[in-house]
Symmetry: C2
Subunit: 325 residues, 2 copies
DNA sequence: TAGCCTCCTGTAATCGATTACACCGCGAAT
DNA sequence: ATTCGCGGTGTAATCGATTACAGGAGGCTA
């Protein structure tokens, strides 16, 4: 591989001058063109490890996600990637599998690699996160709130739950169930809280047997939906609070060997193949969330000061197909 | 952040000794325990940038993919990630969007960052790939063959196409269409070749109007399927040669306002929500492919010599639900 | 007891870039 | 004509680890 010394030798200048040309510092025109010619001839690109060591930060950002197989997070990753690429940064993708230790492991690596910044969708509370933020490393948290004083891009989860449940009630349903994520997940709890509030506001009961905590995956949605439909008095409508759970619920409905129920889903419904005319979708935009988070991160990396921001990402209610009679 | 000097000072030894303890070189028991105590007390972890510079390679591997939103590739990524993590490596995920220039850009970065290795699902021919391999950097190509002399993990695409088409013919269909990927994609062409061979072997015609080239995405499958079903003499069965195209085809069938056709899909059918009783699935295992590729890469990083390997990944035919009458 | 070998240990070189600092030359100001 | 200032340049320090090399202590052999 070519080194800066060889470029300097070929151009007949010092390494300092080569470096200055490549970093846009002022250099006399004659030398500049000599350097550029040498760079082109040798196909030189600077070694990023050496640069990172000297500059004390690399051109990498870490994107730490709970589940890279969930399309919600891959869309988010896509958004981050697009902004990062435009800013000359590369994305290191880390999968925590919802495990806090793994999360801490990757945050530590991000630190030890002198990465320029971190975007984290937390699997749980993190001690390292606060330390990173304190030493003013660029950090943005997405999707799930943390108490720390860092930039965050979030949904208003209570509001999401409320609006989705309201939409189902407004279609005339009185027994509206809710399938949400694990009890320990604040996001899941908040959306369920919204569901409960909406029912109460409409003067409807929200009994415990209409609320099911499931894992936030397809099989969780399947199990929960089957359980709800098998009840002595099945619900008229069901709210699934995330996209994978929604897919599971849709599968059970599509199998069609139980009572029917209208479905509401909070999420982005990727790769659905069944007709979903009668489904209410409160659409989230993970890609936009990723774009926003990455922009904020890039601003911080560029040195933007100021207090930590909390950005609430909007969502869009969509009715798919014709409403139920 | 803690530096090795501070650890050395606290333990009362030289930095060399600290480094040796951390890298498992022999050190006297007394010093070793003193160093370990100091490391624990300060919470020291070595700076990876400095280590990479000295060792001439980092603990990162690049995974360069054409489309991180395609579940096929996210499953593959998941497999790579699992092996990498176990080997102490982190994965840098790069999305080429099927663009060769972007691909070269990322390969160059992998080189400039002194990454330990690269796993590439090529969007097209690459000049850098050969150069990396020549300088015996660890490289593994997945999913799409390249002519270069590097390790590859592939499917036998002609065979996949043939077996899937055979299965549809064996169910009694005579007009079997094929939706494959872009004409320029060798994988797409190979699977279509297999389809053609199967029909010919069965003494059936494989006319051009039964072969549709689509983009390898959901909308490509939708358009192609709609086109096939709208033909004056629609096919009795349709083979979709990748999972996203299959999703698109399924959507059109599920909408149900055209003639019916039996579907065959080569892929891994993620997140499908419609009943797919009558669908033949030739199941691919991208996660296994990722595991295998990462294992081969790790072996190479550890210094394994020997000629470049070509591993053919198996697939499993699955009939979903009851066969058509 | 002298000579050698082994095993640790510390000092300093090294990886490859960026950049602080010193210095040089030239034009402007006095 | 001297001084000052300034833009441009090169030399060498620097980032933080790993590791080549030199040297010292101790055990073993002759």
């Amino acid at each position: 591989m070519t080194r800066i010394k060889e470029v300097a030798a070929l151009a007949g200048v010092s390494t300092a001058t080569v470096s200055r040309v490549l970093n846009g510092k002022s250099v006399s025109p004659g030398m500049e063109s000599a350097v550029r010619r040498a760079v082109a001839e040798l196909g030189y690109t600077p070694n990023r490890t050496a640069r990172s060591l000297r500059r004390q930060h690399s051109e990498l950002i870490a994107l730490v996600l709970p589940d890279i197989e969930n399309p919600f997070f891959t869309s988010l990753a896509r958004g981050v990637e697009d902004v990062a690429r435009a800013a000359g940064l590369s994305v290191v993708l880390c999968n925590t599998d919802e495990d806090v230790d793994t999360q801490e492991h990757y945050l530590r690596i991000a630190d030890d690699e002198n990465m320029a910044g971190v975007i984290l969708a937390p699997a749980g509370p993190s001690a390292l996160l606060a330390r990173l933020a304190e030493r003013h490393r660029a950090v943005v948290v997405v999707d799930r709130a943390v108490p720390d004083d860092v930039d965050q891009v979030l949904f208003d989860n209570v509001d999401l739950g409320r609006r989705a449940a309201q939409a189902l009630v407004d279609r005339g349903h009185r027994r509206v169930a809710c399938i949400t994520g694990p009890r320990a997940t604040p996001t899941a709890k908040a959306r369920a809280d919204g569901w409960r509030e909406a029912l109460h506001e409409k003067g409807l009961p929200a009994p415990d047997d209409l609320l099911v905590y499931a894992n936030y995956r397809v099989d969780g949605g399947e199990t929960a939906m089957a359980q709800l439909l098998a009840a002595p008095e099945p619900p008229e409508a069901v709210l699934a609070t995330n996209n994978l759970v929604g897919v599971g619920a849709l599968r059970v409905l599509a199998a069609g060997d139980g009572p029917h129920a209208q479905l509401g889903i909070i999420g982005d419904l990727p790769f659905v193949t069944s007709p979903i005319d009668d489904t209410f979708l409160l659409q989230l935009h993970p890609r936009e969330m990723g774009l926003m988070a990455a922009r904020m991160l890039v601003d911080r990396i560029r040195g933007e000061a100021g207090p930590a921001q909390r950005v609430i990402q909007p969502s869009r209610p969509v009715m798919l197909g014709a409403p139920a009679s």
